[in-house]
């Protein structure tokens, strides 16, 4: 005699599920004591390797901030979800977390996930900070005010690499590329070429010769055909934008052909991935890195991050994604402090134009396109057969981000120099 009929329960459930999408999720956001931050990153799948660094960076930053008293007297708490680097899974996880009150999110590595986050965050009333997503569209064609990139975009990174070459290797004027067959691979090469065409005439007082890049398949087991093509090229310098295991295989198979013996090798973004795998067989090369602790020695945030990371994981050679996540959490903390609130609109307002300290030094979140201006870090790695790692970093530089960043043009594609 409860008065509840089966038909009534079904009707109630149906009405609830129909009404759910229209309930304003902002009403649930951040009502508890702790400020929830959703970490949606790749904890399995092809980018799991990077996702673990991202998660560690988030956890270390939250522990440090909480130990120092939190933000506006409130602790930070992480809600962690796996996106498998898949836009559909990332969208589901992000929606769920916003429903749980985590309107502030972080951790996007994959470019396709990052591009999916903009419309979703607009619709659901959240904000996301990416951790290494490289697509240039993020602050150009697909600009969305709910998405922020605290790290260097491809325009900055690749042009910084070209600038460094013009400064350090002015005699290396002919270049080709080992470019993976996907849009991002071709974009990195196009931006690098843009940098060569600007900085070689300006700095090296020489016109660079741009040879056709060698387009290589993604995820192949044999790159020898492409290696022999590159070996036949007259290029004095090779730009590599293959990534991860593809790079390891390619470099491994290139060794007998002595592809890199008398050529300068500039690698886009492998950090320690190639060197960690090839050890003493690593060819000497420059590579872009989000953060290298030796470059930033003396910066208290960097030293503390390194110590905490080693203590947490036992790994003495962290990759730079740790710092991207760490900087992202600190950006949220500073934005909340700046605006005095943790709701989405206040945090977006706080992030825009935010200047904050990170493990790589001061960064400025450009208000116009949500792209951070920061120094671009590059390291030179050489084999070291007798050393504990089998390789060592023999040089490192920072390129002033202001000298290589593009003007803000949100909503518009990049415009690049092209060889005549």
């Amino acid at each position: 005699m409860t008065g509840i009929s089966r038909r009534g329960v079904i009707a109630g459930l149906g009405a609830t599920s129909l009404a759910a999408p229209f309930i304003n999720r902002r009403a649930f956001a951040q009502s508890g004591d702790a400020i929830k931050i959703g970490v949606v990153t790749a904890l399995s799948g092809p980018q799991e390797f990077i996702g673990n660094f991202v998660l560690s960076g988030c956890q270390i930053a939250v522990d440090q901030i909480n130990a120092a008293g939190g933000v506006l007297g409130r602790q930070l708490a992480l809600e962690i979800r796996d996106d498998r680097a898949n836009p559909a899974e990332a969208s589901a996880a992000a929606r769920e977390l916003i429903g749980l009150g985590a309107n502030l999110q972080i951790g996007t590595i994959s470019s396709s996930v990052a591009l999916a986050m903009g419309p979703l965050m607009t619709q659901e009333g959240g904000v996301v900070i990416t951790c290494g997503a490289g697509t240039e569209k993020l602050n150009h064609e697909n600009y969305n005010e709910h998405v922020f990139r605290p790290g260097d975009g491809p325009y900055m990174r690749m042009r910084a690499q070209a600038r460094l070459m013009a400064e350090r290797q002015p005699e290396v004027t002919s270049w080709t590329g080992l470019v993976p067959d996907h849009e991002y691979g071709r974009t990195t090469w196009a931006v690098y070429v843009d940098g060569l065409l600007q900085f070689y005439p300006e700095i090296a007082k020489a016109d660079p010769e741009i040879l056709d890049p060698i387009i290589v398949p993604y995820g192949a087991g044999d790159y020898r055909t492409f290696v022999t093509q590159a070996a036949r090229s007259q290029a004095q310098g090779i730009y590599n934008s293959t990534y991860g295991g593809d790079s390891v295989t390619l470099f491994q198979q290139a060794k007998p052909f002595q592809l890199f013996k008398d050529r300068v090798l500039m690698d886009s973004a492998n950090e320690f991935i190639v060197a960690g795998a090839l050890k003493g067989d690593t060819p000497g090369h420059w590579t872009g890195i989000h953060w290298y602790h030796e470059t930033n020695k003396g910066n208290p945030l960097s030293d503390q991050l390194y110590d905490d990371y080693v203590k947490k994981t036992g790994n003495t050679q962290p990759m730079g994604w740790v710092s991207e996540a760490h900087a992202g959490i600190y950006a949220y903390a500073k934005a909340i402090e700046k605006s005095g609130k943790s709701d989405t609109d206040a945090v977006i307002a706080g992030l825009k134009g935010l200047e904050w300290d990170t493990a790589t030094g001061k960064r400025l979140m450009r208000a116009e396109d949500n792209q951070a201006i920061k120094d671009v870090e590059l390291i030179y790695i050489e084999p070291d057969a007798s050393g504990p790692l089998g390789y060592k970093v023999t040089d490192y530089v920072k390129v002033d981000g202001n000298t290589v960043i593009e003007p803000p043009t949100p909503g518009e594609p990049m415009t690049l120099r092209k060889p005549s």
Binding site: E48, I214, I215, G219, A220, G221, A231, G245, Q252, I273
Partner: protein
């Protein structure tokens, strides 16, 4: 010009024999058991990791004998794993629809992935070729690394041994009989169940052997399972499902397609490879060499 031609042929043969090494166990198991083992790449990958573990005892300076021993250890380890997989999985799949077989073997692939992450972690790893195979040979303007020649020879030797066993020994003839009519083979007194088991063991051992022989050919990572398996499925399909000779011929054919494509259509990597597979399937859906005629 001669150098270009030699380079194209040489690169085609490396691709072909590396792929055949992986595909040989796959096509053998399919030919006899009619099980399309989706997890084959996973056991190839674990074979590579097992060889890596053995070779890590030698540091960067690896002698050829150690390299071969590591490949044999990987082969034996995967053959042993084959016993467990046959008992726990394949025997239960004999009477079910092929779709369930695909699902079950895909699940096995995920298990392989998990095992690799659990034991060896997520870092990319690599092994140097043996010290005796670090040189190169110059031939008509082409550069031929000796380790690549070793890979080509390994593929040819595995093919010759398999072909001899399947076509010139009584065990091979029994296998062919069972592949065509297992019921009749049982009626005439052949222990079909035992032959099935040994076929699985051999197929898995071949996966392990391929992993061990190719461990210095590419990087090791949990992604490795997927890298060769797509190519291996390509040669198995083009060669004729279950035909070892067909797989061998198809691997050379597709290797040539791949090398020519990379040389003359550099802006469209992989396109010609898949177009060729599609064309073969349209023109000759049973593959280049059918199993019944050639196992």
């Amino acid at each position: 010009m001669a150098g270009d031609l030699i380079t194209i042929l040489f690169n085609a043969m490396i691709w072909a024999m590396a792929t055949f090494l992986v595909a040989s166990g796959l096509t053998l198991v399919f030919g006899i058991l009619h099980v399309l083992n989706f997890s084959h790449g996973g056991f190839f990958m674990i074979g590579g990791y097992v060889a890596y573990t053995v070779l890590s005892m030698f540091g960067a300076d690896i002698p050829l004998w150690a390299y071969l021993v590591a490949a044999i250890v990987a082969s034996v380890a995967m053959g042993g794993t084959g016993v467990a997989v046959d008992t726990l999985v394949f025997r239960r799949l004999k009477s079910v629809d092929g779709v369930y077989v695909l699902i079950a073997t895909y699940a096995l692939l995920l298990v392989c992935d998990g095992v690799v992450k659990l034991i060896w972690g997520l870092n990319y790893l690599s092994v140097s070729p043996p010290r005796e195979l670090l040189d190169v040979i110059f031939l008509g303007g082409a550069i031929l690394p000796t380790f690549s020649i070793f890979v080509i020879l390994s593929g040819v030797v595995v093919f010759l041994v398999l072909d001899y066993v399947l076509n010139r020994t009584s065990a091979g003839r029994i296998l062919q009989v069972i592949a065509i009519d297992p019921w009749m083979a049982g009626v005439v007194g052949i222990n079909v169940s035992s032959v099935y088991r040994w076929t699985v063991i051999t197929g898995f051992a071949l996966a392990g052997l391929a992993g061990g022989l190719l461990v210095a050919n590419q990087s090791l990572s949990p992604d490795l399972a997927g890298i060769f398996i797509l190519q291996a499925f390509g040669v198995v399909i083009v060669g004729g499902m279950g035909s070892v000779r067909g797989a061998f011929v198809a691997s050379i054919f597709l290797g040539l397609v791949e090398a020519l494509s990379a040389t003359y259509l550099p802006n469209y990597p992989g396109v010609l490879f898949f177009a060729t597979i599609a064309l073969v399937l349209i023109v000759r859906p049973e593959g280049l060499l059918s199993r019944q005629a050639t196992t």
